[in-house]
């Protein structure tokens, strides 16, 4: 069985599941962000007329993280957040991360760095980028708010069709100036925005084995941009070390031995050793070109951050490139670290100082301008170059603007010139 099959079999109490089987796996972790407000509404609806008190199935297994609009941008959001806080208190939700400098950040980063993600777990989230958590060898996928309400009530996901798996083999050492983001952009360009629809992407190969957790998170985060239900990197010593050393996890962690006999629908290969930096062009994530093809394109706003590329190594890359320089006169550079923990460490190491000296604006951790609801909107006809994961029309708040996606290295190099620039010099 594939990793997804093994996890779904275990979670549904079956010795074996086949592709296409419909199962109802028990949930290990259920995550929501501000949209918990809608989940609460639907959850209440499910109990209406049942003469039962609405109670979540297990408050220890629910995580709620405020990140999409923090601090609240409007009275409406603030009121929703207030409602969610009341619900959290009333139900005793254990894994709650409020708008705070000691524990806040983007939901996907918080789950990862808090040690909530575990190999072999079934993780659902009311956010499409829940695929991120497959980086820990978990089966993690996005669901809607009403679906989540059912999970809160029953502790399982209804009607999950066991998906087929595409094996992605990535080989070679990443050349200088080429990052995990380039690998996943290349892959999406290769297979298309629906190339993995209703499928799992399972990552293998020597490039993946050497990749630290931060890079694995990038790959799984963007798996959904190829339509994948889930992206999975098999758990190994790297996973275990991260959980122990970075997250302070002390309880037993099981790393399932790589079982043979998995049946893959197909195998896709990516040659990382000869890869150039990649850029996704407006307005779909699969319009991917080597940076050399779009170099020279004028840029108004550079964005470094998000659940894709707002981690410490991303900020380090950006700081190293802009150190001692000033960004181009006509460019705005917005940096939003993925969590406050990352923010503090970047501050301690001087990255934030370097970045602001160069002209960047460092914003508070959170989703920031990634989805166009909070800060950093674009003007009509403006162009953004961003390390986030989506460039759909209107994504950054203005349907009359263009968004290009790239790695932190491309973004930082381009900030210095004001045009899309190859970071390899």
């Amino acid at each position: 069985m594939t990793i997804a099959q093994k996890i779904l079999a275990r979670a549904s109490g079956r010795p074996h599941v086949a592709v296409g089987d419909v199962v109802e796996p028990a949930v290990d972790l259920a995550m929501s962000h501000e949209n918990a407000a809608l989940v609460i509404n639907q959850f209440a609806g499910m109990f209406e007329g049942t003469s039962r008190e609405p109670r979540v199935w297990d408050p220890e297994r629910i995580a709620i993280v405020f990140d999409h609009r923090v601090p609240a941008e409007s009275a409406k959001t603030a009121t929703n957040q207030k409602r969610v806080r009341e619900f959290v208190r009333q139900q005793g939700i254990a894994k709650f991360h409020d708008i705070r400098g000691d524990e806040g950040g983007i939901c996907h980063q918080i789950l990862a760095e808090s040690g909530y993600d575990r190999p072999g777990a079934v993780i659902v989230g009311t956010d499409s980028h829940t695929t991120t958590h497959g980086a820990f060898g978990a089966f993690a996928f996005g669901i809607g708010a009403t679906e989540m309400a059912a999970v809160w009530a029953l502790g399982r996901v209804l009607n999950v069709e066991v998906p087929a798996t595409i094996k992605v083999v990535v080989r070679g050492a990443l050349p200088r100036g080429v990052e995990p983001k380039d690998v996943v952009l290349r892959l999406i360009g290769q297979i298309g925005a629906e190339g993995a629809n209703y499928r799992v992407l399972e990552f293998h190969g020597d490039t993946i084995a050497r990749l630290p957790m931060s890079g694995r998170l990038v790959l799984c985060n963007m798996a959904v941009e190829a339509g994948a239900t889930s992206g999975i990197v098999p758990a190994d010593e790297v996973t275990l070390h991260y959980l122990r050393a970075e997250c302070g996890v002390t309880d037993p962690v099981e790393i399932a031995p790589p079982g043979g006999g998995a049946e893959y629908e197909r195998v896709v290969e990516v040659d990382a050793g000869n890869l150039a930096p990649q850029v996704a062009c407006p307005h779909t994530v699969d319009r991917v070109k080597p940076v050399t093809d779009v170099a020279g394109t004028r840029v108004d706003q550079i964005v470094i951050g998000s659940c894709t590329n707002g981690r410490l190594d991303d900020l380090e890359t950006a700081a190293t490139i802009v150190a001692g320089h000033h960004i181009a006169r006509d460019v705005r550079m917005l940096v939003f670290p993925a969590s406050w923990r990352i923010y503090r460490e970047a501050m301690r190491r001087g990255y934030l100082e370097t970045l602001t000296h160069a002209g960047a604006v460092v914003m508070n951790p959170g989703c920031g301008c990634c989805l166009g609801v909070h800060q950093g909107a674009l003007g009509d006809g403006e162009v953004a170059l961003s390390t986030t994961n989506r460039n759909f029309k209107g994504r950054m708040g203005n349907p009359k603007a263009d968004v290009y996606l790239c790695s932190p290295a491309v973004a930082a190099a381009s900030a210095l010139t004001g045009v899309i620039t190859d970071p390899r010099g």
Binding site: V22, E34, N35, A37, L38, N41, Q42, G45, M46, F47, E48, G49, T50, S51, R52, H68, R69, E73, S74, K76, T77, N80, T126, D127, S128, T130, G142, I143, G144, A145, T146, E147, A149, A150, A153, L154, L158, N159, E161, A193, E194, N197, Y198, G227, T229, T284, L371, G372, V373, R390, F392, K393, G394, R395, G397, P399
Partner: protein
């Protein structure tokens, strides 16, 4: 007979159906005003009540890709639209079923604005062109949720205390 009111191509994202800037609006009763907000002509018609219930949106592959926001389904459910698409993105289709939005998977569908469609068991017939297109049925487990009227009533059934019966369906 339902009329096609809007024809779209492939990869229509939830950002196009329900832009992120309206995400603070969550209640299904309030989301329809922002449906296709950036397609101003269609949005204006919807808001003016000029789109009759049961009208059809025809789309290509991967309709509803991108964000999991459920508003993208509830904003179309409110005015009681039907979406006939060549294919749907996974989360959107699930949300649509859960909320009772009528979704028809019709891999070959071809239609233009103003065409009348007959949606029958198994096929869509375009009355303007006379062409027939096969419908791919939903998996049985999903159809059960549609038949229950959506996920809320479906789950409610299993939460109802039934003496002697187990909690599970």
């Amino acid at each position: 007979m339902p009329t096609v009111v809007f024809v779209l191509g492939d990869d229509v994202s939830t950002d196009a159906i329900y832009p992120g800037r309206f995400m603070a609006t969550v209640l299904p009763s309030e989301t329809p005003q922002h449906a296709f907000a950036d397609h101003t002509a269609f949005n204006a018609k919807l808001r003016a009540g000029e789109v009759p219930p049961g009208s059809v949106i025809v789309a290509g592959q991967n309709f509803g890709c991108g964000s999991s926001r459920e508003q993208a389904a509830s904003c179309l459910r409110g005015p009681d639209l039907t979406v006939v698409a060549r294919g749907f993105a996974r989360i959107f289709l699930q949300n649509a079923i859960n909320l009772g939005l009528r979704t028809i998977i019709c891999p070959e569908v071809e239609a233009s604005e103003g065409d009348e469609l007959e949606i029958e068991a198994g096929e869509v017939i375009n009355r303007a062109t006379g062409k027939r297109f096969e419908i791919v049925p939903l998996p049985a487990a999903r159809q059960a949720i549609v038949d229950a009227g959506g996920l809320i009533p479906f789950v409610r059934q299993s939460l109802m205390p039934k003496p002697g019966a187990s909690m599970r369906r």
